[in-house]
Amino acid sequence: MEEETHTDAKIRAENGTGSSPRGPGCSLRHFACEQNLLSRPDGSASFLQGDTSVLAGVYGPAEVKVSKEIFNKATLEVILRPKIGLPGVAEKSRERLIRNTCEAVVLGTLHPRTSITVVLQVVSDAGSLLACCLNAACMALVDAGVPMRALFCGVACALDSDGTLVLDPTSKQEKLQQCLAAAQAASQHVFRFYRESLQRRYSKS
């Protein structure tokens, strides 16, 4: 009961190089998608980007608890489960981001007082996790036949230490980014400001 759509897509910029190892070009990793692989949810999709893989299931439009129902549109819920451990704050913030994206795109007014639930399970994480989650959610919503006014996708992008742009970074590239070092340096400024303002407060008394 499976429909497989394996898309071998390597999208390159004008001076992009080959797939791996990736040079200073703009090329995405090999991605593949499989739809309708789970029998219980109304729609499901598995999205692979290189080694990052996310499985998404969509239930809806289904019954909603009276406390959560909205009178004029569908209640959209996103649940993101990490590969190991319990969902934490990072998962919650990603859920909110994915939910805002889905709400902008799904025609919720066609199904008031119903719930549309998107459940995402991280199967393997090798960089660009949020982008992979967005793509899997979009394909699962399309598979479920939820009415949408547009499609959406996610592409992660990182800045290298020499200032070059890398699209769809692997986790190794994400870690080596200048962003992390720059953020750490900036956080020192913030802590210094905390200390100064608290010192100012206590020096008055």
Partner: protein
Amino acid sequence: MAEPASVAAESLAGSRARAARTVLGQVVLPGEELLLPEQEDAEGPGGAVERPLSLNARACSRVRVVCGPGLRRCGDRLLVTKCGRLRHKEPGSGSGGGVYWVDSQQKRYVPVKGDHVIGIVTAKSGDIFKVDVGGSEPASLSYLSFEGATKRNRPNVGDLIYGQFVVANKDMEPEMVCIDSCGRANGMGVIGQDGLLFKVTLGLIRKLLAPDCEIIQEVGKLYPLEIVFGMNGRIWVKAKTIQQTLILANILEACEHMTSDQRKQIFSRLAES
């Protein structure tokens, strides 16, 4: 659904709206805008073209086109909201531009007025039954909407019901009845004992109920059977023995993914045994 990834990655603001006529039978994605035939001339290759305002009423021939499932009106164009193949049906009697719709594959049913469905009675409350039809909320079925309804012959909780919707829109709870407009049952009502109820996709039901579908005739030649199709994806089958019933259920579920040759092979093999 094999479409190249570049289509999905294309920004919709940049893509040109295509004429609906050229896309018939092809896969369309949510977010695409389609032009109706009368607008194709106006939107020439250069995009928005200035047309002189004509005072002659006959020059502007507005054809009435019906927007079916999967399409919405967006300005004077059609916006595709579901993924599937675009279909068109010519109008039967002259006037109007016909119906456009998207043939999409779905598992979840949304109640539509006039659809005949199989429901399961889940509760009695006051004067009505609550019937689970697979949608977002249970439908209500009045005690009196059966042919020859009396205090004695009523369905019980757990029975299967074949009925049609009289009220089904997004704002109200769906209501169904088991009589037609003349007051006769017309095949609707409580479905008998035994048999097997199973669920398939909505697309398969539409395919099986199409007028030119040979699957049901072939199945009928195999074993004598009783069968009820609900537009909500539920099929009820009953044959003489349990084994035959299960074989029929498996065949119907597998029909979706088999070509007609494979199907004929399986039928001939079963007919021999």
